[in-house]
Subunit: 200 residues, 2 copies
């Protein structure tokens, strides 16, 4: 398969990209240090990315941000950081990408445990993740030519424990090989419209 | 209780408002035919509404729209109709309202079955509803002074069957008295951070 990974340099992305590269042709897209530059907050940039590659069988997004802060501190603009990036960035990757991806291809988006099991300071991040979960279910009903869509929702991943454990009291770390398998299940399997939850 | 209902003139809203008015002081807010005018897509309008009322014990939102269309027809701007109205409109009612609502008050938002069980043409509406579900869970962890938040998610409601049944093949109509009870459970009960699903 020819696989386009947006965000293949982050904590999760680099592990997923390395694993996929063992069996597939992988193209990395991102804001920097990538084969193709893309800013997912900008639809024109997304279109340019798809125009620059061809014959893509799988699109994997492990990119997108959202502002973390206490709910009584978050401004309307703060909410729009996540809406423009991790929410509409991923929607636009699918909305535009549906016209470029190969028949029987797949989109695999990334959300996270906050959609189902949020912690303090994550009202905006939870909203974004929950929005993508329902978007994936709805979009699976409509994609044409056998194209599939899923999301991978991981808990606190092992490689981010040092940085984030204080924000996730009592959460178990998720081994990276299980997180990687969530993506493999979506890309190499045949599931459609599913949220693959990798929680421990 | 003094209850502020945004959208108390719609299919669901008018029934909920009538029931609440039997026991409570009800103030209706909306774009028209209301006690107080408000446009939930505009934060300044929301602030003005809260400035104009005082001593509110419960805020109920049964307003907000999202664009329905096939996924390959929806533009980025179409998605932002729902994001600005039913998604961020409801977020802003809580974000701003937390500074005005009485201690031990409650926010009750409205979503719908599309978050969990979407149909064709609802990728944008599903996204909005799913986003609010996760937002409610996360926000419940942070609201101060005993203030609670919940969402009511109904299936195809009885009073809208004639208009919508062709879009919801095989969905059962939900009796209006059960829908009303979903709101009562949130407002008069003590639940917090819940999505009250009224599915049949």
């Amino acid at each position: 398969m020819k696989i386009l990974i947006i965000g293949g340099k982050g904590t999760i992305g680099k592990k997923v990209a390395a694993r996929l590269a063992e069996k597939h042709e992988v193209i990395l897209a991102g804001r920097k240090e990538a084969d193709i530059q893309v800013d997912i907050t900008d639809s024109n940039s997304i279109t340019k990315m798809y125009e620059a590659v061809s014959g893509i069988d799988a699109v994997v997004c492990i990119a997108g941000e959202a502002k973390w802060d206490y709910f009584d501190k978050l401004t309307e603009e703060d909410f729009y950081i996540g809406i423009k990036s991790k929410l509409m960035g991923q929607v636009n990757l699918v909305r535009i990408g549906q016209h470029y991806i190969n028949p029987n291809g797949s989109f695999t988006l990334t959300t996270g445990i906050l959609a189902d099991d949020p912690v303090v300071m994550t009202t905006s991040a939870a909203l974004v993740n929950g929005g993508i979960h329902s978007f994936v279910k709805a979009t699976a009903l409509e994609l044409q030519n056998g194209v599939r869509i899923n999301a991978v929702s991981s808990g606190l991943v092992e490689d981010a424990v040092d940085k984030y454990q204080d924000y996730f009291p009592g959460h178990n770390a998720v081994p990276m090989h299980k997180v990687i398998n969530g993506y493999i299940k979506s890309i190499e399997g045949k599931i459609n419209g599913e949220v693959v939850r990798i929680l421990e």
